[in-house]
């Protein structure tokens, strides 16, 4: 099962200038998206109720549809680990402080996890299959797997697939208490050698089809998940099998996030399985969040289409000229591993 990426759209801490070598630098323990003017895509009457996560998702989906020159997808499938945190927070706050009295419906309605996919369908008038996965660091991966299944069942379909997650003040305060984050800058995060990472957020959407066309940016060759491996060894056996099936990549994009323990996993894996393969990273550009691999796909599809790797993305080894096969390996706490392979077309 593979698919062709016919269009990409991304709202993140970076923008398209990344591919021409301009990185948006951030400093602190939180890397917010560079909010575009959402009114480009969303009517003023509709925008008033939308939380930021909804705007991000709607914008990224529209950009990807425009990029693919597609007006109506045959399915909308997405992932979000946290859902609509801002509206959830607003409703919870009022629920507690107003003692369950005089609450208003808007925040509750918008807090539903499928608000973004529902809103995209509503704006497009799209009656097709619509699904939302909410499974932490596997949310995006399941949306992609669902899309690949849909294409295997009916190759004539064009699928809109993606993921979105946001940071809010509440979520950041709570997650910070788990000691997940530290202050760092885009330039030094991956070399800090200490515990902790930088929080991120973003939305990325892709149009996927079974046939190559003039818009195709790259091939989505494979998506695999490994849940809760008993040991590093088991993970490496799994990755080795994946490499036997699909071959060695020209570039490995890891989910390095600056946390010394987290990154050690990649280091060990590279030594064992990827000797001589150049390594890139993306979380110093996007921040860490459960669906950050969507940013990595956006970046990787751009690399394959343009045939150059942004210098800022390289982590070790020689920058490959015009890589043909790029593997994204992302994990969360060693419990969720995903392997996403993209190939040049």
């Amino acid at each position: 099962m593979q698919a062709y990426i016919q269009g990409t759209g991304c709202v993140s801490a970076q923008d398209n200038a990344l591919f021409s070598g301009t990185v948006r630098e951030h400093e602190g323990d939180r890397m917010p998206v560079a909010d575009p003017d959402y009114k480009q895509w969303i009517d003023i009457k509709q925008i008033r109720r939308m939380g930021r996560v909804i705007k991000m998702g709607v914008a990224a989906s529209h950009i990807s549809l425009q990029d693919a020159n597609l007006s109506m997808p045959d399915a909308i499938v997405m992932g979000t680990a946290y859902g609509c945190l801002a509206d959830t927070g607003v409703f919870l706050n009022k629920l507690v402080t107003q003692h369950e009295d005089m609450l208003t419906p808007t925040a509750f309605i918008q807090s539903t996890h499928n608000t973004v996919s529902g809103q995209i369908a509503l704006m497009l008038g799209c009656h097709a299959y619509n699904n939302t996965f909410v499974h932490g660091a596997f949310s995006l991966e399941n949306a992609l797997q669902d899309s690949l299944l849909l294409l295997a069942e009916d190759p004539s379909k064009q699928i809109l697939a993606g993921a979105v997650d946001e940071i809010t003040d509440y979520s950041h305060q709570i997650l910070s208490r788990f000691r997940l984050y530290k202050n760092a800058s885009t330039g030094n995060l991956l070399h800090s050698g200490t515990h902790g990472t930088v929080a991120g957020e973003g939305a990325a959407f892709f149009v996927l089809g079974a046939e190559k066309n003039e818009h195709t940016a790259a091939e989505l060759t494979a998506v695999e998940m490994l849940y809760n491996p008993a040991s590093e060894e088991e993970t490496f056996v799994h990755i080795a099998k994946f490499l036997e099936r699909f071959g060695r990549p020209d570039l490995l994009v890891t989910g390095r996030n600056g946390d010394v323990k987290n990154d050690g996993y990649y280091g060990a894996g590279e030594e064992k399985l990827f000797a001589g393969v150049p390594v890139a990273a993306f979380k110093h550009l996007s921040g860490e969040y459960p669906t950050a691999a969507a940013f990595a796909i956006w970046m990787t599809a751009g690399i394959l289409k343009k045939g150059t790797v942004p210098a800022a993305a390289m982590f070790k080894g020689e920058t490959p000229a015009a890589p043909k096969k790029i593997l994204i390996w992302n994990h969360q706490n060693g419990k969720h591993h995903s392997l996403i392979l993209l190939s040049a077309c």
Binding site: M1, H113, N114, A121, L122, Y129, H135, D146
Partner: protein, 397 residues
């Protein structure tokens, strides 16, 4: 993409029973589960009847074999998922390529809302133990880990159709040859979050709900969990499966964020798509387990969509939410179990509290329990916010 997907078993916990057998007794004895809140604390306790699972967290935790401080959503999920697996007689799950696809709408919100009280007063306060399982997916993993499922674990959240969508995804992974068995369905515990949320929409009935009744004024919330065990042809040969999941479809109403279109466009498309996949004519459906929440809007839209697809001959139809309340993310799973069991036992479920036919539609729900009916095909509907409409068709063979 070939082969059949069979229902090898199922499990349910709801406000009318701690297992499928108890739920069946409640239907047979016409005992809906609406009561005043006992376990969840809310200022609305005396205003809105709910269908709470009749057990505290300590009791549920013991039954689930889980710590009592875990989200009630996980405890309910564990109890129903284990019942589902055990009902199959397939033995140790470790010998199969197994998946767990579970739906829920608010994850560990029951604990988060307790946490928020202290947190809002002082952001350095509130026990982190209460938010560690906040995410929907975290609840699923607690259960998957106890069940020992590792090949595939995922969570779907599409509001009130979530549970039905879990069956679809599980079934498609089996047909693609990725998995042998999938425990699929949904879970949701009552929370102040959802109770107050539905109250702001002014669609909670202060009386026991009356789905598909002209006098209906809203829904009652319920809680629980329900899972079926989906298996491939090869696994099904080893056992006597209940029935086959012969068709399903998801469509989007694309009309409004929460309300259904008056003519039930998405509802119609979902039912039509499920029939098409099963290769059946509408006239071959022998019973419809309606979404039937009891709100003005849902029952009117769903009724009109049923009319458009089934007129002039309507199969027996009822909403089991008149017993269990609306269990949100669990409802698609719970009603899939009821529908699959209906085929095995020839059961047509009653619709409680029905008195007056709706003016706008030409049929009434069934009001009496019966069994040993000759049922060959059963349809189950689940429709949710975001226009998310799903329909499942189960067939005896």
């Amino acid at each position: 993409m070939n082969g059949n997907v069979w229902i090898a078993g199922g499990g349910v916990i709801s406000g009318i029973g701690h297992d499928l057998g108890q739920c069946m007794v409640a239907f047979e004895e016409m005992r809906p589960g609406m009561k005043t809140l006992q376990h969840l604390h809310s200022v609305h306790a005396d205003t809105f009847p709910v269908v709470e699972v009749k057990a505290g967290n300590a009791e549920l935790a013991q039954k689930a074999g889980m710590p009592a401080h875990w989200s009630r959503t996980a405890l309910l999920s564990m109890i129903a998922a284990r019942e589902a697996w055990q009902s199959t007689g397939l033995g140790d799950i470790a010998q199969y390529r197994a998946g767990f696809v579970s739906a829920n709408t608010v994850g560990g919100m029951d604990k988060t809302e307790d946490f928020m009280k202290a947190f809002l007063e002082d952001t350095s306060k509130g026990s982190l133990r209460e938010v560690v399982h906040h995410e929907c997916g975290a609840v699923t993993e607690l259960v998957a880990d106890v069940l020992g499922i590792r090949h595939h674990v995922s969570t779907i959240s599409t509001a009130c159709s979530s549970g039905a969508n879990a069956l679809m995804y599980g079934s498609r992974m089996i047909r693609a040859g990725m998995l042998d068995v999938v425990i699929a369905g949904g879970t949701d515990a009552l929370t102040r979050f959802t109770l107050n949320g539905f109250n702001t929409l002014m669609i909670l009935d202060q009386q026991p709900c009356r789905p598909f009744d002209d006098t209906r004024t809203g829904l009652n919330l319920g809680e629980g969990a329900g899972y079926v065990v989906l298996v491939s042809d090869e696994i099904a040969k080893k056992i006597q499966p209940w029935c086959r999941l012969s068709g399903f479809a998801n469509a989007n109403d694309a009309y409004h964020q929460t309300a259904s279109s008056p003519e039930g466009t998405g509802n119609f498309m979902a039912m039509q798509g499920a029939l098409k996949m099963s290769g059946l004519a509408a006239s071959e459906i022998d019973y419809i387990n309606l979404h039937g929440t009891g709100t003005q809007n849902n029952d009117s839209s769903e009724g009109q969509a049923v009319e458009r697809l089934f007129a002039p001959a309507y199969p027996p139809a009822s909403s089991t939410k008149s017993f269990t309340g609306h269990t949100l993310g669990a409802s698609g799973g719970i009603e899939a179990v009821f529908s699959a069991w209906a085929l095995r036992e020839g059961i047509i479920y009653p619709n409680a509290n029905f008195t007056t036919r709706m003016k706008e539609i030409p049929f009434s729900p069934v009001t009496a329990f019966s069994k040993d009916n000759n049922l060959r095909h059963v349809m189950s509907n689940s429709f949710g916010f975001g226009g998310n409409c799903s329909s499942l068709v189960f067939s005896k063979e």
